[in-house]
């Protein structure tokens, strides 16, 4: 029903859109085509990490692109530590020279170049220049740091408020305390069990709030995309993987390599499958979070971009309504993905420490 209504509106919007753009512009096709590729590049660029903290960019009257934001430190390991401000790279337009080494930003990646900043390409149009080990404080790292500091002070103040206020939380803690308890009572205890849940609590709580806060931060107009970055989700999944295997009990490994209670050929057949499962589980965690958040960002940005493609009242306002609704859904997705990641991590920990009483 809702879908039909939406389709109806879309058809109306498009039918209005085409004649107006056709009349109004000289070369409509090439221009909108150009705009579409621009938007696509812009979205893809946004999904990636960046060496600057850009808030917005515009092209001024003289046709020069101006960026508003602030630079971040670039840290490179190239026969020694090289630290300089990302303003030196000037969004790929300048060549940064540090101690007779020259670096240039090309497609969000730093390459070592000569004085002129030439970049050589191979047959597939990939740069062949050396790329130094890049440990820069990028936009993503800055956001992670920011979130971590916020989290630290937020939960420290909650912890302190208990001491001051006779075991009753006050202020912001009133909002977060039930969530902490929810993680404990609904995520940790049912999945891991009362006996072992305590040692995983710190990780699960940090994980939940970390993902949630970063997801929410990604929905702000700051244009941050941390949890939609594969390196971040890989890191989180890796920690879950390592904790699972380190804390695993004997029965867990027994169930993987020598499944009890099944015939011998099945035992042999199950071992590689189970072993694969050990890796697939965290891998799925990694991909799920990455894909959900990336997809959310792409959809949201596409819908916002539609406003500039339609350029008429009906289509643009419709895009606005859609973008607005998707934003609200994304707020839900933000907490949902944090919840799923935490629940599944807890579930894997539960598998690892499970005690089989039937044997």
């Amino acid at each position: 029903m809702l879908k039909n209504v939406l389709n109806f509106f879309l058809i109306i919007a498009f039918s209005f859109a085409s004649p107006i753009t056709a009349k109004g512009t000289i070369a409509p096709d090439s221009k909108t085509e150009n705009k579409k590729t621009n938007i696509k590049e812009y979205i893809l660029h946004h999904l990636k990490d960046s060496h600057d903290f850009n808030l917005l960019s515009y092209t001024n009257e003289s046709g020069k692109k101006t960026y508003v934001g602030f630079p971040l430190p670039v840290i490179l390991w190239d026969n020694g530590l090289k630290i300089f401000s990302s303003s030196k790279l000037d969004h790929g337009k300048a060549i940064a020279s540090v101690e007779n080494n020259y670096y240039r930003l090309y497609h969000d990646k730093i390459y070592k170049t000569d004085v002129e900043g030439t970049i050589e390409y191979d047959k597939e149009n990939h740069p062949t220049n050396l790329s130094p080990l890049d440990l820069s404080i990028t936009k993503g790292v800055a956001s992670i740091l920011f979130t971590s500091i916020i989290m630290f002070f937020l939960f420290k103040s909650l912890a302190d408020s208990y001491k001051k206020n006779n075991l009753i939380a006050n202020g912001m803690g009133r909002f977060f305390e039930p969530i902490v308890l929810y993680v404990r009572d609904e995520i940790a205890i049912p999945n891991i069990g009362k006996k072992y849940y305590k040692k995983y609590m710190s990780y699960l709580l940090t994980l939940f709030f970390f993902i949630w806060f970063l997801n929410i931060l990604g929905l702000t107009p700051l244009g941050i995309n941390v949890t939609g970055n594969i390196a971040v989700t890989f890191c989180l999944a890796l920690i879950t993987f390592i904790i699972t295997n380190i804390t695993a009990k004997k029965t867990y490994w027994k169930h993987i390599f020598w499944m009890p209670g099944v015939p011998l050929p099945m035992k042999i057949a199950l071992a590689p499958i189970e072993l694969l499962g050990v890796i697939i589980k965290p891998f799925a965690l990694m991909i799920r979070l990455y894909a959900n958040i990336s997809a959310g960002h792409i959809v949201l940005m596409s819908l916002i971009s539609l406003i500039f493609i339609f350029r008429n009242w009906i289509g643009s306002s419709l895009s606005f309504i859609l973008a607005f609704s998707i934003s609200i859904i994304e707020i839900l997705v933000a907490v949902l993905q944090a919840y799923i990641f935490t629940v599944l991590s807890a579930l894997y920990f539960g598998f690892a420490v499970e005690e089989h009483e039937h044997e």
Binding site: D134, S148, D160, K163, L167, I230
Partner: protein, 165 residues
Amino acid sequence: MDKLINEFSFGLFFWQLLIFIGLVFLLKKFAWKPILDSVNERENSIKEALYSADKARQEMEALNEDNKKIIMEARAERESLIKDAKITGSKIVEDAKNEAKVVAEKLISQAQESINSEKKAAIEDLKAQVADVSIKIAEKILRSELKHNDKQSELIDDLIKDSKL
């Protein structure tokens, strides 16, 4: 997959790992442990408070029951006391009456006895006095009668006459 590996930024991974692990340990020390401990403590105290409240309620009920019992007992005792008192009272009155009767009877009998003895004594006394007086009178008469010798002889004669042998 190729795109994912291409997009993988080691720097971001490195910092994420470092910051996240640091965050877990910092939060564990400064936030999660105190928070969970406080919450646990609070939950325990609530549990205890509820338990003791329940206990107090039960005690109150028991106390109420006791009170009722005591009141009932007291009432019963009072009634029995009143009953006893009534019985004792009436008995005392009865006894007093009986005693009084006995005493009165005794007194009456004593009084009668003393009256009787007094009467006897009085009669005796009177008799003695009467005899005394009669003797005195007789003496006087005799004296006056026997002043004259002839009269004396006459009397002797009379007497001798009276006493005929």
